[in-house]
Amino acid sequence: MSRERLRIGYIPLADAAALIVAVDGGFTTAEGLDVELVREVSWSNIRDKLNVGVFDAAHLIAPIAIASSLGLGHVKVPIVAPFGLGMNGNAITVSPGLYAAIAAAADGSILDPMVSARALARVVANRKARGEGPLTFGMTFPFSTHNYHLRFWMAAGGVDPDEDVRLVVLPPPYMVESLASKHVDAFCVGAPWNSVAVDLGIGFILHFVSDILARAAEKVLGMRSSWTQENPDLVCRLVRAHQRAADFVEDVANREEVAAILAAPDRIGVAPEVLRRTLDGRMKVAPDGTMRASEHYLLVGRCGAARPDPAQAAWLYAQMVRWGQAPLSAELLTAAKAVFRPDLYDAALAAPASFVGEPADGIGAFAGPPFDPSDVATHLAAWDIKR
């Protein structure tokens, strides 16, 4: 079998695990693929290099794949996702000052995102009454899960993310220093940056994103739609290699080895221990060492997480509409759902694992009615705060 040369871009984050292990663990080689992994510094670069064909595939935040396919904010290049690299895995980290203020304003356990969101609304109102400037929240990209997760959470408590606070884009490697320098009061980002802030004693993890949505598509393996049509066999081989890598990552017996692969200086480049905690879903959430465990913190291929679910794409599109990034139309909804390709996933695998069980709508949001992927208008009608 001749070796096919492919170039795949990624951002050094824990949810690139299936991709990095697929390549460095030999799973792509076993499929006859010679993959060059290229570490990138910005999502804009990843998007552009995928769009113009410098990359054959990329570790991509799911909303960028949708935005690119719909031509939002940028040139329109249809992207498809035959494999989900990760579900959940983000967290909201707040400064010690904001953590104390939210805890003081809470009327219950702030582990409950509705309690914390309402407490945030009180903190915001108090600051306004005292004539203080708005709180600033960092997130990674305008079309990012982080942006939508923050907005969904705070808006449920009555905080308008565009009027009551400031949301600013920060590259993930700058999140921690921005929190330390009080440039931001909080941020939503993926691993390992939340843990880095907690370990430095400058942040508290207020929520895992799995508190806000039980299942949230996070990163996908994105490819140009045209490329998948020209190379159906390569798509199959990539999906198989990634599924095997994801299974390897999820096997607790391999954790030590996986953490070492990911921690390499030319890959994610942080301490293996931090990556291990992330994969185990066993996180230090406060500088005093308080731990919190959740088996849903980050799903890499477990519980059907690798199989792209068009309902997830519909939810992300609904957020784009809710916050004024996209118009509402049946055509755009169909186009958004078509980005997530369970058919390509199923075609590559002998026994594809799909998700069954709770939550019934596949999303499991902490607020609002169950999500119906065919009816975005009803989802939007449930909210007062929207654009």
């Binding site: 510094v41 910005s42 999502w43 804009s44 670069n45 552009d48 290099k49 769009n51 113009v52 064909g53 410098v54 904010g73 940028h74 040139v75 329109k76 708005p134 990674t140 990209f141 305008p142 565009d162 009027e163 400031r166 949301l167 600013v168 884009v169 920060l170 590259p171 490697p173 700058y174 320098s181 440039h183 004024g324 990034q325």
Partner: protein, 202 residues
């Protein structure tokens, strides 16, 4: 398109260059000034990038692709309280070649406030050619540096052979060259082996 076939530039445009590499930024700034642009501002502190950009109020923003703060600029496409003036990326749906050329050169351009793309095309082209020129310069510098390193290694190996085998300098060099040819290696590689071996025998 290079400088030689440029069209008259639009001197009234204010251009911001965001580049942490001071040499490359200087090369680009020089190019823009030569082309008649007098309002060129360099920003190397990306900690407060949005604030700096707003304070400068540019028509065009050029940023290198090694800069993580590119994502910060993308935020300016959005309408929100953090953003005061709409920004668009310099892209032409019909001209994917120009995006590819920019990505290849390692630069990206953004235009502010509904400026017509034709007014910016020359700037992007100049930017691409200067970035490519810088990459060639860097390449040359790296090659010169490694050639210098190789000379040092060869000189040391010659010295070792001259002492150990009582050879003249010419004879020592000839021996290195002959061995390299026989083993299909570079002289510097053979010289490095000589140094390593000499270290072992110390």
């Amino acid at each position: 398109m290079g400088l030689e076939d440029r069209q008259p530039m639009d001197a009234s445009l204010k251009i911001v260059i965001v580049d942490k590499n001071p040499i490359r930024a200087a090369i680009l700034e020089d190019g823009l000034r030569e082309a008649g642009h007098v309002q060129v501002v360099r920003i190397d502190d990306t900690a407060h990038l949005l604030a700096r950009v707003y304070a400068t109020d540019p028509d065009v923003i050029l940023i290198d692709l090694e800069n993580p703060s590119r994502d910060v600029l993308e935020q300016m496409f959005q309408v929100s309280r953090a953003v005061r003036r709409p920004v668009a990326m310099f892209v032409d749906q019909s001209d994917s070649a120009s995006i590819a050329a920019a990505v290849d050169a390692g630069v990206s351009a953004y235009i502010v406030g509904g400026l017509r793309k034709e007014r910016v095309k020359n700037i992007l082209d100049l930017c691409i050619s200067r970035f490519n020129a810088f990459a060639r310069l860097q390449d040359e510098l790296d090659r010169t540096r490694s050639a210098l390193e190789e000379r040092k290694v060869i000189d040391r190996a010659k010295g070792i052979l001259m002492t150990a085998k009582s050879l003249s300098e010419e004879a020592a060099y000839a021996l290195l060259r002959k061995t390299a040819m026989n083993e299909s290696k570079k002289i510097a590689e053979v010289a490095q082996s000589v140094i390593t071996a000499a270290e072992l025998f110390k």
